[in-house]
């Protein structure tokens, strides 16, 4: 019991590599669009201690510190004219720089399910697309999941599993935004 208690004090400290895979870079087709991305700096410190089961080993997932660089890299790949906002957005600011669309992302929930055979990680986010007047044109929720067996048996297994869950979430966001902007473009042309 004492041993188990001590082991539960420590556990797994899991940081993803924080890079997109080659598969992501190759599968996303960039569109010619100026777009700004904003997220609060608090996102980078988002940590989950969800151990995935009451008796599982403690696990600390450093979600935000990897998610931030990954979503910026995704926007670099998906949009020709990408701008990152490190200051609070305003309609005046968007107009000054000729930014027609602003995307704001925040993390909603991180979930971990550990079973005997493997682990399921999922990340849910909320994304809002604004026009240059800061009027909402789309608000959506995305979930990226990675379901892997025998993950803890490998060096880098939990880390890469986390990376994949984040990447799947980001893929979902990017595709959703591209679909919305293509639809907007078609509406404007017709």
């Amino acid at each position: 019991m004492f041993l188990a208690g001590c082991a539960s004090i420590f556990g797994w400290d899991i940081q993803a590599p924080g890079l997109l895979s080659e598969g992501f870079i190759q599968s996303v087709q960039p569109i010619h669009q100026r777009i700004a991305l904003y997220f609060s700096k608090d996102l980078l410190s988002y940590v989950s201690k969800d151990r995935g089961g009451r008796s599982a080993d403690p696990q600390t997932y450093h979600v935000g510190e990897s998610y931030g660089p990954m979503i910026i890299e995704a926007f670099q790949s998906a949009f020709d004219e990408f701008i990152f906002l490190e200051t609070e957005p305003s309609a005046d600011l968007l107009k000054q720089y000729g930014v027609p669309y602003l995307v704001a992302v925040k993390i909603k929930n991180f979930n971990n399910e550990v079973s005997w055979s493997g682990q399921i990680l999922s990340l849910a986010t909320e994304t809002t697309i604004f026009d240059s007047n800061l009027t909402v044109i789309e608000h959506f929720e995305s979930t990226g999941t990675s379901d892997v067996k025998r993950v803890f048996a490998k060096k880098g297994g939990p880390q890469v599993n986390l990376n994949l869950a984040l990447e799947n979430n980001i893929m979902s966001i990017v595709e959703h935004i591209q679909d919305v902007l293509k639809q907007k473009s078609n509406e404007n042309n017709s």
Partner: protein, 176 residues
Amino acid sequence: MKIILNLGLIFSISLIFGPVINASEVIPETDSQVIVRAHPKTGKPYVVIVAKDSIPEPFFPDSKKFSRPDYRLLDPKVKSGQIPYDGPYSDSKRIYIFAATVATLGTVGGAIGMAVIPASASGAATGGAGYLAAGGAVAASTVTAAVANTAPNPKNDDFVQTSESKSIYKENQKRL
């Protein structure tokens, strides 16, 4: 180099963004400036708008550079080490050794043990093996308990979903 990227590459805003603005439109100036930052992981530059009144601090903390992840590593048929991985990892052996040290020797003894182990490599290896066995027993018991908690969950079977995105609403309102 980072200082140069963060501070030196401040561009003329009007030259870059001017053509989008109509000549008759009056655009209020905001307290902002444009800089170029290097991506913290890839080094690829990107445009950033920051507050004007201060020297921009790094947005991301310094981080190590790793290779892109290869998800074949997650294939259950692939054994540990078959796919190269140079990213961060949690060394569970070291954690269990430390936990077992504390469990065996107590807080003070554990601190002494941790101080001694690095100074004596062979002693650390021998002791580590013993501690690891204890740690392994801990791991086995916790995994078994985890199964008891999660096995009835039907969501764990045939789980194939990887990503999903759904609209919550579309409406004309200002909010952030």
